[in-house]
Symmetry: C2
Subunit: 206 residues, 2 copies
DNA sequence: TCTGTCTTTCTGGCCAGCCAGCCAGTAATC
DNA sequence: GATTACTGGCTGGCTGGCCAGAAAGACAGA
């Protein structure tokens, strides 16, 4: 995307730093308060701009949420790439996965909460649905590409196609994270171990 | 707290058939319109009662939603028991799982949509959070008990504790269902096969 | 450098619509 | 006649979107 090169009348791609602040404020607000609770009033205050500016940039709440989805995708790619870079065998790969999940849960479960918020909204809004679909597709493709690369390096030996592995991996990740968030006092160690044990069957035929 | 519990000291549980209709109407409405879109006006009309009756029985929207969660749990138990009853070995068990998931997706993905709706609401309402926690716990326990029974019958040979198996199984189920709903045109056959293949590692050490 | 004009960015008051909850009152039941 | 079951009009509060206009730049000419 082009930065704030010029103010284009038709499509205001990225008006600049204030738009960024708004999107990020909305993202955090949705994770904390939900879509319904994220009023323009709240978000504007947290972004340090006026309410009107949200309409000036994005028009409607839905379009702002689509931008939130887009940003979310970018953030996930960064996180994914950072995590997978250093794996040198299937065990290391799965260990990295586990620690990154642990860390995510301890520090900021925004991702998963936001995923579910956006999914529920997507059921009722085609614009958001399209964005969400794109988020799922791109995330899957991204991980699948990484898996393919790891396979060529000899780190992994996939027993099924990489896209399917990505689907299963993200699915069990989302589902478990939801459960951990729902029952924070329960020890999910055994469940996470079981998940990893079952995933190994897809990553390594050794 | 006990505003509407006057009529029957022994049990405020079931005011009757109208309350049932309200709960079921709310359940379906939440799955279709989301929590925010499920106004008392809509739900009352669909249940064939007046708006005021919803307040008369449940007081607040949250308390009505807690009843929805409770009902959801009951429905799930029925479905689970029906599905697992006839499995005679691990393969049959997993095949049953696959067909029941397929059928659920084709006919009525209410379950999963509702799960996510309630989860997002639970983030903001302690009453609902408690109900949701209970839903997760009871569902897990229920499947774990079935798994234990199947193990004693010699149908399955679990490689980890049944509760963890249940967690992983439901997690991957929820996550995949969400993805299927988000991308209805994509063929998830390979992904579902991959999921089942990975789950086999937990169900059968043969 | 100053000044005036035009454009873009940004503000916040306003409004119409919606909703949960309240409550006064009516119907049903005993 | 009294208690319980039920109704629906009302309201206060909130929200997204609109818009008139204020600030902030941009630019030209003197």
């Amino acid at each position: 995307m082009e930065a704030q090169s010029k103010p284009s009348p038709p499509a205001k791609d990225l008006p600049g730093e204030k738009a960024e602040r708004i999107i990020e404020a909305m993202r955090q607000s949705v994770a904390r308060r939900g879509v319904a609770g994220s009023t323009f009033d709240h978000v504007a205050r947290e972004a340090g701009v006026s309410r009107g500016l949200l309409h000036y940039y994005f028009g409607t709440k839905e379009r702002l949420l689509v931008e939130v989805v887009r940003r979310e995708a970018d953030l996930r790619f960064d996180a994914l790439d950072r995590q997978l870079a250093e794996a040198t065998d299937a065990d290391a790969f799965l260990r990295l996965l586990q620690t990154s999940v642990d860390e995510m849960l301890r520090t900021d479960p925004t991702y998963v909460t936001l995923t579910f918020e956006l999914f529920t909204l997507a059921n009722r809004n085609e614009e958001v649905a399209e964005g969400f679909r794109d988020l799922m597709q791109r995330t899957r493709k991204h991980l699948a590409d990484s898996l393919r690369a790891k396979e060529q390096e000899g780190v992994l030996h996939l027993t099924v196609d990489p896209e399917s592995v990505a689907d299963v991996l993200f699915s069990v990740g989302d589902g478990l994270t939801m459960r951990v968030l729902a029952e924070p006092d329960r020890d999910f160690g055994p469940a996470i171990s079981a998940a990893i044990r079952s995933l190994r069957g897809l990553l390594d035929d050794a």
